[in-house]
């Protein structure tokens, strides 16, 4: 008898639970998503001219210095350095003294960097000539985020 009653009560409870489970509406009208983006350090350089003319006087000696101007855009502190190599048809050994200009923080900057060109081992018979040296603006080493320094190199083609 007790067992039957227990079964009846269990049945009643189950029915009650089923009755309570009548479908209820759901309103989940908003979803949120976390988004991330990584910005890399970078530096772009543009030169005012794409070439310079270098005139060597007769005999051994240094070429006159030339200024190379341009604009640098960077989101990290950067500096400009300059280098140059000898034109293919030029005599002697050419070296350039890089000059660096420090740029603070990030932004858009004008720069004028000095290219001091030194020529050695010219032949005694050299009577002087003018050479055209091509230039390009080149972004150099940009270090990993947080390092805070970018190097921009002005180099010949």
């Amino acid at each position: 008898m007790r067992q039957r009653l227990t079964n009846l009560i269990s049945l009643g409870v189950a029915l009650a639970m089923a009755s309570a489970a009548v479908a209820t509406g759901e309103d989940r009208t908003t979803a949120t998503v976390a988004v991330t983006i990584t910005v890399l350090p970078y530096a772009d350089v543009q030169l005012d001219v794409d070439h310079v003319e270098v005139t060597l006087p007769p005999g051994p000696g240094d070429a006159p210095a030339v200024y190379v101007g341009g604009t640098i855009r960077t989101n990290v502190p950067a500096h400009v350095s300059a280098q140059i190599t000898k034109p293919l048809n030029a005599p002697g050994d050419w070296t350039a003294e890089p000059q660096s200009s420090e740029l603070a923080n990030s932004g858009v900057y004008r720069f004028d960097t000095l290219l001091k060109i030194m020529v050695t081992n010219l032949p005694e018979s050299f009577t002087g000539a003018t050479y055209t040296v091509a230039l390009e603006g080149r972004t150099g080493e940009v270090q990993t985020p947080g390092a805070g320094v970018a190097t921009v190199t002005i180099a010949p083609y």
Binding site: L15, E26, T30, V35, T38, Y42
Partner: protein, 156 residues
């Protein structure tokens, strides 16, 4: 004897409860109530937009899939974004985040919440959203974090 009486009372209570539930169930069957149902989900839960190599417009290759299920008409799906903040300072405001409209393919600035779908009928549908981020030289390198919120608007 007492036990038998208690058992009878218990049985009577149980039967009454069952009958009562039966009546409730009958009423529920007689007057079915289908409540409003709207559900929106977006995957993935964290969207990596990628790496912006320099200043300018960066079209993220990542996609956000939005699934909407509703048994009623809706006012459409609206997307908004918070400012993307970088640890240690710096942020990319919503005006520099763009969402690509699925229907036109145009990118729209998320300065204000953007309606990405027109009002919809009952049913289920998926939309895929893509994003564009505009970076400038003033944006220091690093990782920026924000939140995109997708909302199903009520019908007008």
């Amino acid at each position: 004897m007492t036990a038998t009486r208690q058992s009878c009372r218990l049985a009577a209570v149980a039967i009454a409860a069952i009958l009562s539930l039966g009546v409730t169930a009958q009423r529920a069957c007689a007057l079915p109530v289908i409540e409003r149902y709207v559900q929106v989900t977006a995957t993935p839960e964290t969207l990596d937009l990628g790496t912006a190599p320099g200043q300018g417009d960066f079209d993220s290759p990542s996609e956000l899939t939005v699934k909407v299920a509703a048994n009623c008409a809706t006012g459409g799906v609206v997307a908004s974004v918070s400012a993307l903040q970088m640890t240690g300072g710096g942020s990319i405001g919503p005006e520099r985040v763009f969402v690509k409209l699925p229907l036109t393919g145009n990118y729209v600035a998320m300065t204000n919440p953007v309606v990405v779908t027109p009002p919809t009928n009952p049913g289920t549908f998926n939309i895929v959203l893509k994003f564009r981020v505009q970076t400038t030289i003033a944006d220091a390198p690093g990782q920026y974090v924000g939140t995109v919120t997708i909302t199903v608007a009520p019908p007008t």
